[in-house]
Symmetry: C2
Subunit: 259 residues, 2 copies
């Protein structure tokens, strides 16, 4: 049986109209499906309001205790529950989850050496059977926020792209899995001045040469690494694009291992 794992992030979360449009498209997808959402820019805005200082190392945010609480409120509370309620209104039987809920995603705190990013977790295991038990008999639609736990009582901030990839990989045990990364761009482009001209099919060798020539934007690299890792671990298809991709209406980038 086919399973769609859809990750939404970037402006799709921040822009109420885009989010609504995206959830309508997601609700229409047939068969078992999972949504993973990032956090958008609201975390930074709310950190300012609450007077939580933003700490950065090498351009990356450090998740201290206050920031983890903020993220848990925002991703696990506000954004997740809003998405669940909106999907319910579209007759999609959504159930919001973090990795701690039903113990579905275990992670471990990233080593503090050489750089200490704080309460950031790297995924250790996914309980695919537990997730299947939610998907199958009761047709529930899991909606994941980007929070996991270590099994010892500690919540951890975890990259949403990685959560989507690891869920997709783990669920290949039971399904033919398609993984969709949905954000505001049409796909992977070569020229930031022409973001509408996208690579329709990106294979690993081409990716490596684009990476070496620093043609792909740096922000896309972790996402693409997740894509290829997923394909190498039996995920069937991996796609990157905007909301029209979910509607089956627009060209986007399909990732494949070989040309």
């Amino acid at each position: 049986m086919k399973l769609n794992v859809v990750k939404i992030g970037g402006q799709v979360i921040d822009d109420a109209e885009m989010l609504s449009d995206c959830l309508t498209a997601f609700a229409k997808l047939e068969g078992p499906k999972i949504l993973v959402h990032g956090g958008g820019k609201e975390a930074t805005q709310m950190a300012k309001k609450l007077g939580i200082p933003v700490k950065m190392i090498d351009g990356r945010r450090v998740t201290d205790t206050q920031t983890l609480e903020l993220i848990t409120m925002l991703y696990g509370g506000k954004i997740n529950k809003k998405i669940v309620a909106k999907l319910q209104a579209l007759h999609c039987n959504a159930i919001g989850l973090s990795g701690a809920d039903a113990n579905v995603i275990r992670a471990q705190k990233r080593e503090a050496n050489p750089l200490d990013f704080g309460w950031v977790g790297d995924i250790v295991s996914v309980d695919a059977l537990q997730i299947k038990n939610l998907l199958d008999p009761h047709q529930l639609v899991p909606i994941f926020c980007a929070i996991t736990h270590d099994g010892k009582g500690q919540l951890l901030n975890t990259n949403a792209d990685s959560i989507a990839a690891q869920l997709a990989i783990a669920l290949t045990e039971f399904y033919t899995v398609d993984l969709w990364y949905c954000f505001e761009q049409k796909g992977v482009f070569l020229d930031p001045q022409q973001p509408d001209i996208i690579i329709e099919t990106l294979d690993y060798a081409t990716y490596q040469s684009l990476k070496a020539d620093k043609i792909v934007s740096e922000g896309m690299l972790p996402k693409l690494d997740n894509c290829f890792a997923a394909l190498r671990q039996k995920v069937h298809n991996v796609h990157i694009g905007n909301i029209d991709m979910l509607k089956g209406m627009s060209s986007h980038t399909t990732i494949q291992l070989n040309a």
Copy 2:
């Protein structure tokens, strides 16, 4: 089969040590169980930090849009996920839910006439079968925050005592249900100067006369009304007390219909 529905609130939520103690006792309860948690005092503190004005009518808080967002972050995010992670560490397979998740609790916005309390919801229906499907085959332990939805995309702030009572009542369809209200007091007392001297058994006729004589504190009345409503609708036992009650270690107040 027996089911325990435990509601925790008041200082038990605000005090980290009491919460930890309470979750340890809850994790040890045998058989299927459900936890419902209130919000504690943090909502008021955080409203101040975020500059959200607290509006009151007749001494009761009005849930405007900003307050609902705050409550969703705090109850559905921070408090709910913290409890879930802590229970997972105690090998209790907790899954955090609002009423919107899996569409388990539908509510409707309270009429704005005569008093408009904003986004406050009164429970319309509980999907007991869906909750049973989480409890039984997979031994999951639902952890409810005090948020429901109207099925049209709107989240609603809903009294946690009422959620506990309505869950208990609905689940009598499948279980022999015991309902436990756990807070910082030993039970229902007659003299606020002597809160350790509690009524061990409170029947409806006695409750009515205490109410008429204004002996029971006003804050207890909605809780007690919920207790008697639950008993009238087939809930087996209803208890009010502190954490020691959950441990089976202390006297508390047992509510019963007839003397």
